[in-house]
């Protein structure tokens, strides 16, 4: 409290400080609002195309068989517990946001090792029966190695996004990109 008291300005400075503080918090709120920040707490796939460079990922998913059963988060964030889910989401999300804001995204986006690990575990989470059903398995001296050294998409390359994913791979795809944040009444007023 001692430090806070030191920051309290003398009476004749109070008004300008209030105004300056309001400018700062107003700008912060504005940035919060136009970046759709609250949507990042939810699980809607539309959130992921807040950044339009994710359009190829959205479009390919929405044309795949996974569309009816999974959303982005079902595969791309951990589901072992809620803390690790949001920790991973925050870590990944902040990195994405930073790269997007700095315009340093590559032309072709590849998944990082941490993300791979998460997706792989999520494949197993839903498809466990496929890889543990003894009727579907044969054993030989490389079974163990085959099971542990490979990722699902080493073979299932096209699932679900396809193997080509450059930023320009889906021209004119219809994806729910964020619309203009300007409300209609203001638009009309300006016109």
């Amino acid at each position: 409290m001692h430090i806070l008291q030191k920051l309290i300005p003398p009476d004749r400075w109070k008004l300008p400080v209030i105004i300056a503080g309001a400018v700062f918090s107003g700008l912060s709120l504005y940035a919060f609002w136009i970046s759709n920040a609250p949507s990042y707490l939810g699980d809607k796939p539309e959130t992921c195309v807040n950044c339009h460079i994710m359009a190829p990922q959205y479009a390919t998913w929405s044309h795949s068989s996974h569309r009816e059963v999974t959303h982005c988060n079902d595969c791309h964030v951990p589901h072992n517990n809620v803390v690790s889910k949001y920790y991973f989401k925050a870590k990944d999300g902040l990195r994405h946001a930073t790269i997007f804001t700095l315009r340093t995204e590559p032309q072709v986006i590849f998944i990082k090792d941490a993300g791979k690990e998460v997706v792989h575990k999520n494949c197993i989470r839903c498809h466990r029966d496929l890889i543990t059903d003894s009727r579907l398995m044969g054993y030989n001296n490389i079974t163990q190695e085959n099971r542990e050294s490979r990722e699902c998409w080493d073979c299932h390359m096209e699932t679900p996004h396809g193997s080509v994913n450059s930023l320009s791979s889906v021209p004119w795809a219809r994806v729910p990109l964020p619309l203009s944040p300007v409300p209609d009444w203001l638009d009309k007023l300006v016109e």
Binding site: K6, L7, P9, P10, A20, V23, F24, L27, S28, Y30, A31, I34, S35, V49, C51, H52, A55, P56, A59, T60, S62, H63, S64, S65, R67, E68, F100, T101, G162, V164, S166, S168, S169, V170, P171, W172, A173, R174, V175, P176, L177, P178, L179, S180, P181
Partner: protein, 497 residues
């Protein structure tokens, strides 16, 4: 520790530093905000083409520079080379395949000519060629053009829907030049999917649903449902206008639509042999699809008939609208991991089973019409025939409902099987009643089944003068159509280059 105030009093430059630091922070925050804004604005433009043409632009080839892949694949709808067991893109003469249909439609224009429509690119050509539209003046209203061309919304914008529908079919021939194209399904500003035909919007309104609230996935079926549905021409709505209407007010099942028609005492025509007040089912593809398992799993028409394809590192919607049986890899196999042959056999199996019973119903209906005619000839009264004619109407409505939607037997085999079964019970009911009436009129023997083994024999049996109809059509194609094309071309010369 001293207060900030005191520090600044002693050394004013500290105050200036705080001022500058705050300025820098707010400035950077502003930059961050405008960066977010810019990237958001990119989203608006990155996937929205820059289009200079108006929403009424009907010509297909002006769009090809902007959408070369969609355009190229759409041109493939001209192909007529694929034939599956029952359907495909080849033009099948359905009356030749099943001459029984000629008898079923006696007194109605479908008995003259019923060739399966070819791909979308042939839409205008096919409607000009069919004997059903005749010559000048045509026996059909302008309503028949509604689904054929992006020229339709263009003209409707000037005339309104009712204004478009009014008049005989030949009076707007010079306006309708371009086959089904981009603006039939796409908004010209954003290229989003759009509903361009008022009938579907009105049908949704009649059920209290706002179609503008449809999701993108629903729109991927609804753009098709503008045309691939059961419809009729309502003559009561506006005087002198045959107003295109979907009979969905009570619901979309065979029975719901039937009771809608019964209530307004509607019939498409009176049968020439049996004098039954008949209903012609058009093509209830969308309605029947909704009752099937693919619809209940969230699949849209476009998922199978216009799948995503990949070409040279680009992925886009295949605009070659066609039977998925000709493209199993991109349609069925996205979800079903079976061999192509196996999947096609699964489709054929369902079609075979449905068509087996549909053929039986078709034969029963021929007998119904012929026996009813015999009863009239022997002097049956209106009163004796009333219930019989209602049974014939109900039976044939069900037959047509399952036959006219070419995909029905696969889209929803259980529902289609149910509809046909009900149709058979109504047809048998009609024949039981007919047997009694015929017996009471002194005929206790079988009424012979006519020789309708070919289309020509069947058309002669119902008394159609095919020579005259063909001559009329040929003269029309030779003399009138070239004039329409010339006038259309002159009009389009004035369009934006």
């Amino acid at each position: 520790m001293r207060s900030v105030q005191e520090i600044i009093k002693e050394r004013p430059w500290v105050g200036w530093i705080i001022f500058l630091a705050t300025t820098v922070v707010v400035f950077l925050l502003g930059m961050l905000a405008s960066s977010i804004i810019e990237r958001r604005a990119e989203a608006v433009f990155a996937y929205t083409p820059e289009i200079k043409y108006p929403e009424t632009e009907p010509r297909l080839d002006v769009w090809k520079d902007l959408f070369p892949r969609e355009y190229d694949t759409y041109l493939k709808t001209a192909d007529t080379g694929f034939r599956s067991r029952y359907n495909g893109s080849a033009q099948i003469d359905m009356l030749e395949e099943s001459p029984r249909m000629v008898v079923l439609w006696a007194g109605y224009s479908f008995s003259k000519d019923y060739r399966q429509g070819r791909g979308h690119l042939h839409a205008v050509e096919d409607i000009r060629n069919t004997l059903r539209t005749g010559g000048v003046p045509s026996p059909q209203p302008n309503t028949c053009w509604t689904c054929k061309s992006p020229d339709v919304p263009r003209v409707m914008k000037e005339t309104g829907a009712a204004g478009f529908y009014s008049g005989t079919w030949d009076t707007k021939g010079k306006e309708i030049i371009n086959p089904i194209g981009c603006t039939d399904c796409h908004d010209a500003k954003t290229m989003n999917l759009r509903i361009s035909r008022p009938a579907l919007v009105e049908a949704f309104e009649s059920r209290g649903i706002d179609i503008s609230k449809a999701t993108h996935q629903e729109m991927r079926s609804l753009v098709c449902a503008q045309c691939h549905v059961e419809y009729y021409f309502n003559k009561q709505k506006i005087e002198g206008v045959q107003y295109l209407t979907f009979p969905w007010q009570k619901g979309m099942s065979t029975e719901d639509m039937e009771s809608y028609y019964d209530e307004m005492e509607f019939s498409d025509w009176t049968h020439a042999l049996s004098r039954a007040p008949m209903l012609k089912a058009q093509h209830p593809d969308y309605e029947v699809f909704l009752t099937g398992v693919h619809a209940s799993r969230g699949i849209s028409c476009a998922d199978c008939h216009m799948p995503f394809i990949s070409e040279g590192g680009q992925k886009f919607t295949d605009h070659h609208l066609q039977s998925p049986l000709n493209n199993v890899a991109n349609s069925c196999q996205v979800c079903h991991r079976e061999e192509t042959d196996r999947l096609i056999q699964d489709v054929y199996l369902r079609q075979d089973k449905i068509i087996e019973n549909r053929d039986e119903l078709e034969k029963l209906l021929v007998r119904c019409h012929v026996e009813a005619k015999t009863a009239w000839d022997l002097g049956a009264t209106e009163n004796q025939m009333k219930d019989i004619l209602q049974c014939i109407r109900k039976a044939q409505w069900r037959w047509d409902f399952s036959a006219a939607g070419h995909g029905n037997s696969f889209h929803s085999p259980v529902e289609t099987g149910r509809i046909i079964t009900r149709g058979i019970t109504y047809a048998l009911e009609a024949r039981v009643l007919l047997a009694r009436v015929l017996a009471s009129l002194g005929n206790n023997r079988e009424v012979p089944y006519p020789d309708i083994s070919t289309k020509a024999k069947a058309q002669a049996f119902i008394g159609l003068d095919m020579k005259k109809l063909n001559e009329e059509k040929n003269a029309f194609l030779k003399n009138v159509v070239p004039r329409w094309l010339r006038e259309g071309q002159e009009r389009e010369e004035g369009y934006l280059k």
